[in-house]
């Protein structure tokens, strides 16, 4: 990683610092609420889930779409960087920015399941799959924002990815090999878990590769 890449990553952290802190705080608050009994668990987890999704969308839209719309992109491209380098650095920087709250909130959710006596540890694989799904979901939004300047397409992508989270929750819950172990005292890491995880990771790798293969190779950059 060269000096300029490091500076540009640091720039993203600086410009998005309040968003990162706010999202981490809001997600942790959700987990604290979720720890306060059965009734509040649903509300807390809803806050936690919404925070991660909203953070990802806001991060991509503010850092890519708004930068382009507000014409700060021209300033960045006046620096000693090629448009291809810009795409690669932006992808890396925003993934790092997303990973900070994502790691904290994923570890927090796992800790909540393990610490809370009234929550079965069998929820662990389900929670992990949901967290990795949201990471892949963010990478898709990020990749989309790096490829298109169309607000309509981005809105469509955001609607699709948000809806996909709800569908994923229902879909995963309906797989017997996963559903049947949710209430178990011990987590069950069976082949169904590993298969879903592998699909999620493959999606993640694919969506993160797209900007390298397509957007970074554009001949013209407007």
């Amino acid at each position: 990683m060269n000096m300029l890449t490091r500076k540009l990553i640091a720039k993203e952290f600086y410009l998005n610092r309040w968003l990162i802190i706010g999202a981490t705080g809001a997600g942790l608050a959700g987990l604290v609420i979720a720890a306060e009994g059965r009734m509040r668990f649903n509300i807390g987890m809803l806050i936690w889930l919404t925070t991660i999704i909203a953070f990802g969308v806001t991060l991509a839209m503010l850092s890519i779409a708004s930068e382009r719309k507000d014409r700060a992109l021209q300033f960045v491209l006046s620096l000693p960087i090629s448009p291809g380098d810009y795409i690669r650095t932006k992808l890396l920087a925003l993934m790092f920015c997303f990973l900070v709250p994502w790691i904290v909130l994923t570890v927090g959710a796992m800790a909540l399941i393990l610490i809370q006596p009234n929550l079965p540890d069998g929820l662990l694989p389900y929670a992990l799959l949901l967290c990795v799904f949201m990471l892949a979901n963010f990478s898709l939004v990020l990749s989309g924002a790096l490829h298109t300047s169309s607000e309509g397409l981005m809105t469509l992508l955001i609607i699709v990815t948000n809806t996909a989270v709800t569908l994923f929750i229902f879909l995963i819950g309906s797989i017997p090999a996963l559903h049947d172990h949710l209430g178990d005292a011990q987590p069950v890491w069976n082949s169904a878990v590993w298969t879903v995880l592998a699909v999620e990771l493959a999606t993640l790798v694919l969506t993160l590769s797209l900007p390298y293969l397509v957007a970074a190779r554009r001949r013209d950059f407007n």
Partner: protein
């Protein structure tokens, strides 16, 4: 040994759906200020985007500071300061943060000069970019480009939207940059007053084509408006290098792009006045003549 040209464009072509930049060739030597002048939509910004590597030419060659563009743009841009009137800084950061950011990237950042520019432009580092007026914003962007001490400044309409005092401050700063004879500026504008004030070389473009390119003094020396008084009905013969003729009764106004004392001798006693033309008049006459020749 000849010095590397700061900009070399050879037969550059770039097509879009509704516009084509055709066969553009131009050179910028070290130590020169070139004014790139053209009406709105002439292709100035396209030419500049080709020079800064943001567009890839469909044909021809673009070299900046000896580097082939766009392939080697990252290296070339270490020595290029690029500013355009619609370039914006990050709204949620201060000017001071931007200065630190740029200083950390460019080893040649001149902190003393940056402080001097802060005072001269009446800016405040602690000021949030969001609170800057449009004129202050352009000055802030210029400060960030100038304090890097780039060998080449590429400025796309940098003074548009500025009040006359701000324009004066900024143009004076450009002149200071040129005190170092290894530095050069390419300055695009449709404001010919600004271009005439600072440029020593002028390139006119119109509708995607180069119309004319020459030293400013050469333009000002070559172009003249000649007023003649002739008997009504007398036809002034066609003359070489007379690009326009306006007849109003017994008065005829000729515009020439190759003025010479021999022309006045030839026209004889009918000559009432020979007027020098300013750059704006030369620009308009040149563009209109070019369009006429091309049948546009």
């Amino acid at each position: 040994m000849t010095q590397t040209k700061h900009i070399e464009m050879r037969n550059v072509r770039k097509s879009f759906r509704f516009f084509t930049l055709e066969d553009l060739s131009l050179d910028l030597e070290p130590g020169q200020i070139m004014g790139l002048v053209g009406p709105n939509g002439a292709g100035k910004s396209t030419a500049i985007r080709l020079m800064t590597g943001l567009l890839t030419p469909d044909g021809g060659e673009v070299r900046v500071l000896g580097h082939t563009m766009p392939d080697n743009q990252a290296v070339a841009k270490r020595d290029i300061g690029f500013v355009s009137d619609d370039m914006r800084l990050f709204a949620h950061a201060t000017l001071g943060w931007h200065m630190q950011f740029v200083a950390s990237i460019y080893p040649g950042w001149d902190a003393k000069y940056a402080q001097a520019l802060i005072k001269r432009f009446n800016l405040r580092p602690e000021q949030s970019v969001r609170s800057l007026s449009s004129g202050e914003h352009v000055k802030a962007v210029l400060l960030l480009a100038l304090a890097r001490r780039p060998r080449l400044l590429i400025l796309d309409e940098p003074t548009s939207g500025m009040d006359p005092v701000a324009r004066h401050e900024v143009l004076s700063e450009f002149m200071d940059v040129l005190q170092d004879e290894d530095r050069s500026i390419l300055f695009s504008s449709h404001n010919t007053v600004d271009v005439e004030r600072v440029s020593d070389r002028i390139t006119f473009i119109d509708r995607g084509r180069l119309v004319d390119s020459s030293d400013k003094e050469d333009f000002l020396e070559r172009w003249r408006r000649i007023q003649l008084q002739v008997p009504v009905g007398t036809r002034v013969p066609d003359l070489p290098h007379v690009i326009s003729r306006v007849v109003d009764g017994q008065f005829v106004t000729l515009t020439t792009n190759r003025f010479s004392p021999e022309l006045i001798s030839f026209l004889g006693s009918g000559v009432r006045e020979v007027q020098r033309m300013n750059l704006e008049e030369i620009f308009v006459a040149n563009v209109m003549h070019h369009r006429e020749v091309r049948g546009q």
